[in-house]
């Protein structure tokens, strides 16, 4: 199977294994699960600092056909159309193979031109994720998913020669094409990512998404009208 894309799913903690089993029934070969945290959109709980929910992120390498199939089956079995049931999206991550590498061209423009949604990834020092989500919300984003990670290590001069591993927060925000640049600029300027060592921000094109809040509201509008 040629892997043309990665199929991402974000669900509540504990459900990723079930989703993975379903994906394997559809023909996926493997899957990787990361632990993350989601945000809850509630002014009240946010104000008192208690908006947090545990999530799992599942990544399945898939071909284009498989990814379409996964979108259909998984969003149906796990009712992604209902709120808080999960989100799925496909990013055109090509699996790199040595033999093919000569022919392959990494084409920036086409993938970006076709995408209807974008995934904004911000990587900052641990603890600044809240600011990031705050400014993303201010620019029109709904919410984000947070993964804890680390940067490469640096040695220091403490009593024990510890290699301190800088803890990093990775924030994933999914949004539609229109809002992308506004959110990106906002985060970039609010968090001062232009300064060295403050973090980076980049976007990945999404070729297909299901279960997004925006999609739901559109459907709902269509239903009532």
């Amino acid at each position: 199977m040629t892997i043309d894309s990665l199929f991402f799913t974000i669900v509540n903690r504990g459900k990723a294994n079930a989703v993975l089993h379903k994906a394997q029934e559809c023909g996926a070969e493997s899957g990787t699960i990361l632990l993350g945290e989601g945000t809850v959109e509630s002014k009240f709980w946010e104000k008192i600092g208690l908006a947090e929910i545990h999530k799992e992120i599942l990544v399945v390498p898939a071909s284009d056909e498989l990814s379409d199939k996964l979108h259909d089956t998984i969003s149906e079995t796990f009712t992604f159309s209902k709120s808080n049931h999960g989100v799925a999206f496909t990013i055109p991550f090509k699996r790199w193979q040595l033999q093919a590498s000569e022919k392959e061209e990494i084409n920036n423009t086409s993938a970006n031109a076709n995408a209807s949604h974008f995934c904004i990834v911000t990587i900052v020092d641990k603890g600044r994720s809240k600011d990031c989500i705050k400014s993303a919300r201010a620019a029109g984003a709904k919410g984000g998913t947070l993964i804890h990670g680390r940067g490469a290590g640096i040695p220091t001069d403490f009593y024990y020669p510890l290699v301190i591993e800088p803890q990093k927060d990775i924030i994933i925000i999914i949004t539609s094409r229109e809002k992308v640049s506004a959110i990106k600029e906002r985060i970039f300027s609010d968090l001062e990512l232009g300064k060295a060592g403050n973090g980076i921000i980049f976007t990945l094109p999404i070729s297909r998404a299901s279960g997004l809040v925006e999609q739901r509201t559109e459907e709902n509008k269509g239903g009532t009208a």
Binding site: Q24, S30, G49, L50, I106, I123, I154, F158, I164, F202
Partner: protein, 621 residues
């Protein structure tokens, strides 16, 4: 809010079996007054709500506080500061532990006043302080190995054992149970996790556990030394007549203020220490501080409700079940003891906290249900054996304690390293407030009704058994696990000294994502750097693939191997060489496990550099 809902569901799942079994007993063989039964039901509801709120609060407050404090300890520039800080942490949280004061006054009574309660409290606290600071030194140096460290500690305990009277042996092990209370355990777990996160390196996962185990050995040593030095051999004293409270609401309301004050006192040293340091050093931003304060309030409220529910609803119930079953048949006592042990331990607050931490640290690689199951079986057997000890006077406590710890010690060298820490922690974690009230009351109830048993002697020692059994059972699990786990070559990290700013203007970027087995991320970063990559971010996850499924025997639980996911953002011109060099590297490729994915990306990177050394060092100090 969803987090609270999640916690409530989790607590409910563990509480329901206890609730159902106790109700079953009440309606079949045990004759219980309506008052006590109603109080048990009310107590269960309080326990459910209280514990859920408590766990939520711990999540929000203890974990960040632990992280900040451990950063402060780890980044000390002199060994003296490490020693003093970690000693203070251990000493202060123990001195304020309400359970310890109760134990102290019990011992004062039992020793006929030779050993004062306050001396015991201080000695035990010093014991904990010293052990914690030794444990922190070990963790930071990563030498000797944790198994060796614990083997030496318990070796000293075993050498002292023959000089200590049996009664004091029981008290000393009970003291270790008393110090690992509902609040101290989550806090020490958080410190341990924080330290190992900062330290990083290839043993980070193993180092995330074990400090609770280290801490609980402190009181054992302290009480044993005291007993030897004071020459105290015999326990005397009267058993206080046990009165079962009457009414439903009165006992609950009467208990509440006392419990609240106890909780405040227990929480106080952590709060004071944290705010002093926050004032001088951390200067946490207001938002985060607000979250921590809210978390502390929730912790306090939750703990108060939880403990009140347990004291007023569960203690009398445990006592009555013990007495009634004791009247009927010793076999029933042993059997029901086993079942109660099996299910009660899962309601312990610290068991929930430990489970969550295991999930966090291993990214779900070690199934929590497996740890919980092993813990249950261990404690079930411990309670059953305690009942045997009450029924048959010839069976002594050390028949189980010494061989149990000895075998666990030997297994620790054969076991999967992560499990060694978890196992020693589990001892302190399992002997929490539920054991100290419900199970202890059950055992004492049984001891009063059986003529050959001595309430004083047999009452002590139950907690010691509960603290020993999980160490033993989880160590066995770890030994099995090791043979099932795939071993990866781990790469010791070379410190990367860096670097200068690199201006990159207006260029196309590519996102490279590599998935490798745990331990290889540093190698990936090295290889990629040589081909022109700059920064990298590493995440952890677990992976399943059809061709590499690993199942544990009999119970058929799937083990999902741990992975590291590395993200690079690079210029388009270097992306091919990086990807190719990753795929060409012999070490990364030897088991064909590396996967490299490439996607175009639009990055807003005006300049990027490997992490700025001075910048981070400033933050850390």
């Amino acid at each position: 809010m969803s987090l609270l809902f999640e916690k409530t569901k989790e607590v409910l799942r563990t509480l329901l079996p206890v609730f159902i079994i106790v109700l079953l007993l009440c309606f079949t063989i045990v004759d219980v007054e309506t008052d006590v039964l109603v109080r048990f039901i009310v107590g269960s509801i309080m326990l459910l709500l209280g514990l859920a709120v408590f766990l939520w609060g711990v999540d929000l407050s203890m974990n960040p506080i632990g992280e900040h404090m451990s950063l402060e300890v780890a980044t000390s520039k002199t060994p003296i500061k490490i020693a003093i800080l970690s000693f203070l942490l251990g000493f202060l949280i123990t001195v304020a532990e309400p359970d310890l004061l109760i134990l102290g006054s019990q011992v004062e009574e039992a020793s006929g006043g030779t050993l004062g309660a306050s001396i015991i409290v201080y000695m035990v606290s010093i014991g904990v302080g010293v052990m914690i600071s030794l444990g922190v030194f070990r963790l930071l140096r990563d030498k000797p190995s944790f198994s060796m460290f614990m083997a030496i500690t318990y070796g000293v305990i075993f050498i002292l054992t023959p000089f200590v009277a049996e009664e004091f042996l029981a008290i000393s092990f009970d003291a270790s149970g008393a110090t690992t209370g509902a609040l101290t355990t989550p806090f020490v777990l958080a410190i341990s996790l924080g330290l190992s996160k900062i330290k990083g390196g290839k043993n980070a996962e193993e180092n995330s556990f074990g400090l609770v185990g280290v801490m609980s050995s402190g009181p054992i040593l302290a009480v044993m030394l005291m007993s030897i030095l004071s020459g105290q051999k015999n326990i005397q004293g009267e058993v206080v007549e046990y009165v079962i409270a009457e009414g439903v609401l009165r006992p609950i309301i009467n208990k509440l203020p006392g419990v609240f004050i106890e909780s405040v006192i227990a929480l106080l040293p952590i709060i004071v220490l944290f705010f002093i340091f926050n004032f001088i050093k951390f200067k946490i931003p207001k938002d985060e501080l607000l979250g921590i304060i809210n978390g502390l309030i929730l912790t306090l409220i939750g703990l108060t409700i939880f403990l009140t529910g347990v004291y007023s609803g569960f203690m009398d119930m445990g006592r009555i079940i013990g007495v009634e079953l004791g009247k009927m048949s010793p076999w029933l006592l042993i059997g029901i003891g086993f079942i109660l042990g099996l299910i009660v331990v899962l309601v312990e607050p610290a068991v929930h906290v430990l489970g969550e931490q295991i999930e966090e640290v291993t990214s779900g690689h070690i199934p929590i249900s497996l740890i919980r199951g092993t813990l249950s079986i261990g404690v079930g057997i411990a309670i059953a054996l305690s009942m045997v000890r009450i029924v048959v006077p010839a069976v002594k406590l050390w028949y189980f304690l010494i061989p149990g710890f000895l075998i666990a010690m030997i297994l620790s060298f054969k076991s999967d390293p992560v499990f060694v820490g978890i196992a020693y922690d589990a001892g302190g974690v399992a002997s929490g407030p539920m054991t100290a009230t419900f199970v202890l009351a059950f055992a004492q109830g049984a001891a009063t009704i059986i003529d050959t048993a001595d309430v004083l002697v047999d009452g002590f020692g139950v907690i010691a058994m509960v603290a020993m059994a999980p160490v033993f059972s989880i160590m066995i699990l770890g030994t099995v696990f090791r043979h099932k786990r795939i071993e990866y070559p781990t790469i010791e990290k070379k410190p990367v000294v860096s670097s200068h700013l690199v201006e990159e203007v207006n260029m196309d970027h590519v996102c490279i994502m590599a998935i490798v087995n745990r331990g290889l991320a540093e190698k990936v970063v090295d290889v990629a750097r040589q081909s022109g990559a700059k920064g990298a971010t590493i995440m952890r996850g677990r992976c399943t693939a059809e061709h590499q499924k690993v199942l544990l025997p009999i119970i058929n639980i799937e083990l999902q191997p741990e992975k590291e996911i590395i993200w690079f953002i690079t210029g388009t011109h270097v992306s091919k060489p990086i990807a190719n060099s990753l795929l060409n590297d012999p070490l990364l490729n030897q088991d064909g496990e590396i996967m490299v994915f490439i996607s175009p990306t639009e990055a807003m990177v005006r300049s990027f550099t490997t992490i700025n050394v001075t910048n981070d060092a400033d933050q850390a100090t």
